[in-house]
Every structure is written in C-alpha cells, then in structure tokens.
C-alpha cells in the first residue's frame, strides 16, 4: 500500500477544505519550516505543556519512527481519531499503552504509562499492585501480557469509541 494510496483512504475522513485547513495549521506548527513536525514544535504549544500524553500521541503518529511527524503522518493519525471506525479508535487507545508497539501491553509498559498520568498521587508499590492485578484479570492465555484481543475484552463496556468521538453527533 503506497503512501499516496493509504493517504487517500485516510483522506476519506476529511473534506478537501478541512485538509487545506489542517495543512495551514500544520505549517503554523512547523515553526522551522522543515516540512515535518519535530517534538519540540508540539511540546511548545503552551496548552500542551501540562498534558502528560503528548509524547505518547506524538510517538503513535510517528509511524516510521523517525522522530518527526510528516504531514501524511499528521493526517493519518488524525483520521483514525476523527473517523467513525471503532476498531481504529480501540487500536489507537491500545497504542497509548503499548509503548514499543509490538502488539502487547507488558507489565512495565502499563506501569510507565500510568505513571505519566498519576504522577506522585500513588506510590510505586501501589501502582505496581494495580498493574499486576489488571494484568492477571485481562490475561486469558497466561502469557503475562495483554494482547489487543484481551484489551478489547477488558474495555468492551467502556465504549472507548464514543469517548474518542471527534465528529459531530
């Protein structure tokens, strides 16, 4: 699937005018005009400085893992969140926790991601106890980590898709 073709499918989420707008915004964020978004260019948006998940989202958007977000990656990342595809949204949510994106949420990954959000409100021991218990609950095949299928089962009552509902109702 070539880059252009994949983009077209993703573009289906957005109208041409919207894409224009997104491109203008992309340019605005791309302070050094390099054509790519570097981490600092996102982290420097003032309102994002307090958001603990900016780095995670950046890494998820950065599909080719080159440390930068191209416009194509920008649009692709946004469309999985702006579309109506429930599975896409669940996958995105899964990727938040699956740091190395190997398709499994491990004990350490779950701990690290929670720690980003919880800060000093819990001790390490308390957080570890919650992590261990969650993995035991989710882990059906006894491999001590959480696959996407196991994740979907755990969150099926949470209606993740509607929580990530970016389109108008």
């Amino acid at each position: 699937m070539g880059n252009g073709q994949g983009m077209e499918e993703q573009m289906g989420t957005f109208q041409p005018q919207e894409i224009k707008r997104l491109y203008k915004r992309f340019q605005f964020l791309d302070k050094d005009g390099s054509g790519q978004l570097e981490p600092a260019e996102l982290f420097d948006v003032p309102e994002l400085s307090q958001n603990p998940l900016v780095k995670r989202v950046f890494q998820i958007f950065d599909k080719d893992n080159d440390g930068k977000i191209s416009f194509a990656e920008f649009i692709t990342g946004l469309s999985s969140l702006y579309g109506n595809d429930e599975e896409e949204k669940l996958k995105f949510m899964f990727k938040i926790y699956d740091i190395d994106q190997d398709g499994f949420i491990t004990n350490g990954e779950l701990f690290k991601v929670l720690q980003m959000m919880v800060g000093n409100n819990l001790t390490d021991v308390q957080l570890q106890q919650l992590v261990d218990r969650t993995i035991i609950k989710a882990d059906e095949d006894f491999d001590s980590k959480i696959s996407f299928a196991e994740f979907k089962k755990m969150v099926k009552d949470l209606d993740v898709a509607s929580k990530l509902q970016m389109q108008g109702v």
Binding site: G4, M7, E8, M11, Q15, P16, Q17, E18, I19, K20, R21, L22, Y23, K24, R25, L42, V45, E47, L48, N51, P52, L53, V57, F71, A72, I75, Y82, I96, T106, N107, G108, F111, K112, L114, N121, L122, D124, V125, L127, Q128, L130, V131, D132, R133, T134, I135, I136, K137, A138, D139, S144, F151, V155, L158, V160, K163, L164, M166, G168, V169
Partner: protein, 503 residues
Amino acid sequence: MDLLKDPVNDRQVKTLKPPPHRPLSRNLMFPDKLKNKPDWKLLRDHLQKEGRIAKEDLFKLVADCNKLLKNEGNVLYLQDPLTVVGDIHGQYYDLLKLLEPKVGGNPENTKYLFLGDFVDRGSYSIEVIILMYAIKLNFQNSVYFLRGNHECRQLTAFFNFKEECLYKYDQETYEMLMDSFDLFPLACIINSKFIAIHGGISPDLKSIEDIKKIERYHEPPRQGLFCDLLWSDPVDQEQGHLDTAWKSNEVRGCSWFFGGESANKFLQRNNLISIIRAHEAQLDGYRMHRWNGGQDFPVVITIFSAPNYCDVYNNRGAVIKFENNTLNIQQYQYTPHPYLLPNFMDIFTWSIPFVAEKITEMLYHILQTDIQDDDEQISESDIQQFKQLTKQAGLQKQSTTGSSQGAQKNTEKLKNKIKFVSTMMKMQRTLREERESIIQLKGACPDKRLPRGILMKGKDAINDQLADFNTAKSVDLINEKMPYAQIPQESIQIKKPSTQRKK
C-alpha cells in the same frame, strides 16, 4: 506457588512480589493427607498474596462448614480459655494479625468465638470468609461464629460484600454465602457467667430460653428479638442512665438503646455478670461500660477487632482473652493492605476516561482555528504546495474554491467540529473529576460510602488521633443505620434439621 511472571523483564517494582497468577489447585487446597479438610495454612498464605480459589472449591468449603453450623443451636455454651473477636469487616490483613500467637492465639491451640460482622466495609471479605471457614473445618470443636447484623442480604447488598462477590465470583456464589450466613448461631454463654452476642439485649429477652425458641435459618427481621440481638446498643452514658428502660435507637433506625436498669435486670434474672458484644467501633478496640461503678465488673464490654476501620477511623483493634475466669484485652495496630481502587476498578476502566480527555484536549489545542482565518486568505501558492505534498489531484476537482458559499459551509463545518471537540473535552473533564473525587489516593476508603470531603478537612485541621476517630465516626454515622427495605425480606429457606434445638 505460581506467581505472575515477568516475561520481558520490564516489571518495575521488583522488590514487590506479584500475586499468584492462577487459583489454588484443588489437590493443594484439599490434600489427601488432611482427609477432606482444607490446608488452612496454605490458604492463609495464598490469600495473603491476593490469590484466588476456584468457585467449585469455595462451594465445597462452604458446604462442608454448613454441616457443622447446622448442628449448632441458637445458643452456644463455651468455657475458657477462649479468645473472643469482634467486628472484622473484610479486613483480611488484620484478621491475619489477630490470629498470631501473641495476639489472639494460634488456632491450632486456641479456642475462638467470633461475634459476627465478618463482611462489608473492607474489601477482603471473601478472603476473611474462606480462611475462617477453613479454620473452622480444621478445628471443629474450638472455632465458633455468631451472626452479626451484616451477615444478611439487606446489608451486604447495600454495602460492598455483594459487589465483592459479583466481582470475584457471581450472583450464585453470593446467594450461596447468604444461605450459609443464615445458619450462624445467635448467642453464646461463656463460663456460665457471660452472654456474648453481636449487638445487645432486647425487651423481648427475658431468659436465654427465648433465644432458643427463635427460628434462625433466615434473613433477620427488621424488629423483634432476633433483630435486637444483632442491632441494639448500650446507651452511651457513663453510668448507663436511660430515661426509660428501653429507648428507640435513632442511630440504627431500628431496635433499642438499653441502659443499666434493663441490663442489670436481665443479668440478675439469668445469673450472669456481663454482656460481651461488638457492633460499635472503638478507638481503643474495646470499651468497658462500668455502669455499676468502678469497683464492679463492667455491665457491658464492647470489643471491636477492625483496626483503622474503613482505612480512616485510626483506631486500634482488640480481642478479649478469657483465661482462668479472668478477662484480658489484647490490642493491635492496623496492618497495611494492598492498594485497591473503588469497586475493584482495573487500570483501564480507571485511566481510559482520562486518556480520552487528554487526547481530545491535545487535538483541540493542536487544531484550533484562528478566528481571523478565512478561506479567501488561503493563497494560490499554499494550494500548489498542498497539491504537491498530498498528490490529491483527483480530490482537487471536487474542491469548491470557485464557490464561496460552498467554502463558507465547509469552514462552518470545521469550526463546528472544533467547537464540538471543546465541548466533549469539558464534559470528559467533569466526568473524570467526579470519578477522581471518589478515589482517595492516600488511604482509600474501601467501600466508597464515607463522604470524603468533610473527612479530608477534618484530617487537615486536626492532628489528634481521638479527633480523627470522632470525625470519622460522626461522618460515618449514616452508615450505622439500617438501610431502607429495598429487597424482599423472604430468604431462600433451607431444610431445617430435626435436631435444631440442642443445648
């Protein structure tokens, strides 16, 4: 014991042992060498690590214990040496402490009488029940339970035991346990001198024979002798003064307060010297109600065995040790337990609303439109550059740069999208804040019934243990009341054996 593994070696807190990954196997729980009795020590350690047992094994454990309970009368008769235990309320880690040799005594060589309230409030009620039933099965002639007011369908559904059953097992298991609680005896005479019950005495209690006449194998009624034994309280007055012999118990919303007059009358009539009971939290884990003056034996003794009740009362737990006709109190401090989120929430249920909110917030800030921004201001060179980068020649044909009305519509659409995103953001933030307000991150109240806001103010303002206790107690007072009848009072009748009334 099969603990949770760490396959990619990335588990962070390596000094903490993880819980067992699987339930305890049947042949370990009921080893051949014990001939149908459970290995209570293995269970004790397994449960301490937050291990589970399979539903079938729990059913077998309870069924075996029910056989013993059915052979016990409404009134037990025990002699010292004996350890008497008050409310435990699901505090498994504190139960482990009180079973230690230096506290209550090793069950292998200690006789035990538990006064009820094993479940609710704390979050390890299932573990408490499993261990206690296992111990009783191993020491049939030296471990006894009485029924507390929480051992019933009404309270366990209102508080958190039912929830715990549904989380760890299912509805069938919950109902099975309710039927088992129906079998618990109601009172005990110790050394022919003391009467032990969970709550207190009753205007309908003239003689011990009255208790024996009760048909006990069902949900306790909302009034009458059966109810009073589990619910009534001694008056909170130094001398036990009460205007009338019995006063309506407004704290409980049912049953009575009794004072010295009623208590002494009952004790004298039945040749007893004191009422041993539980049912009320005590700062020191016990209270001597010396209504007949300092020199005399206390008319009532309250014993309370759940230290740091609800994680906030900051009290000691205590047990009574009867030996050679003397009575000693052994106190103990709270034992920390593993951290739990309210409702046994898992990490995803807890964090996903927050994650969704933060993502929405991020997109809002990344994509926010400049108010001045206008389609007309998008230059031709921008469009060319855009074309090059996106290679969207096909889509371009459909572009509406020619029609300003069409362009207007699309601008509106995008602006509305962004407006919607910001509304969603606000809503999710409110939802998350509401949820987090019930999560006390330092010393979580297990059953979420304690109104925390007031408690937190109290704790900040005062640094005094007694004040803490009193603050907690006054704030928790609503939870000492009998809940309004929400569920039908009929319970599932089990077959009554013909030899119910034994002495």
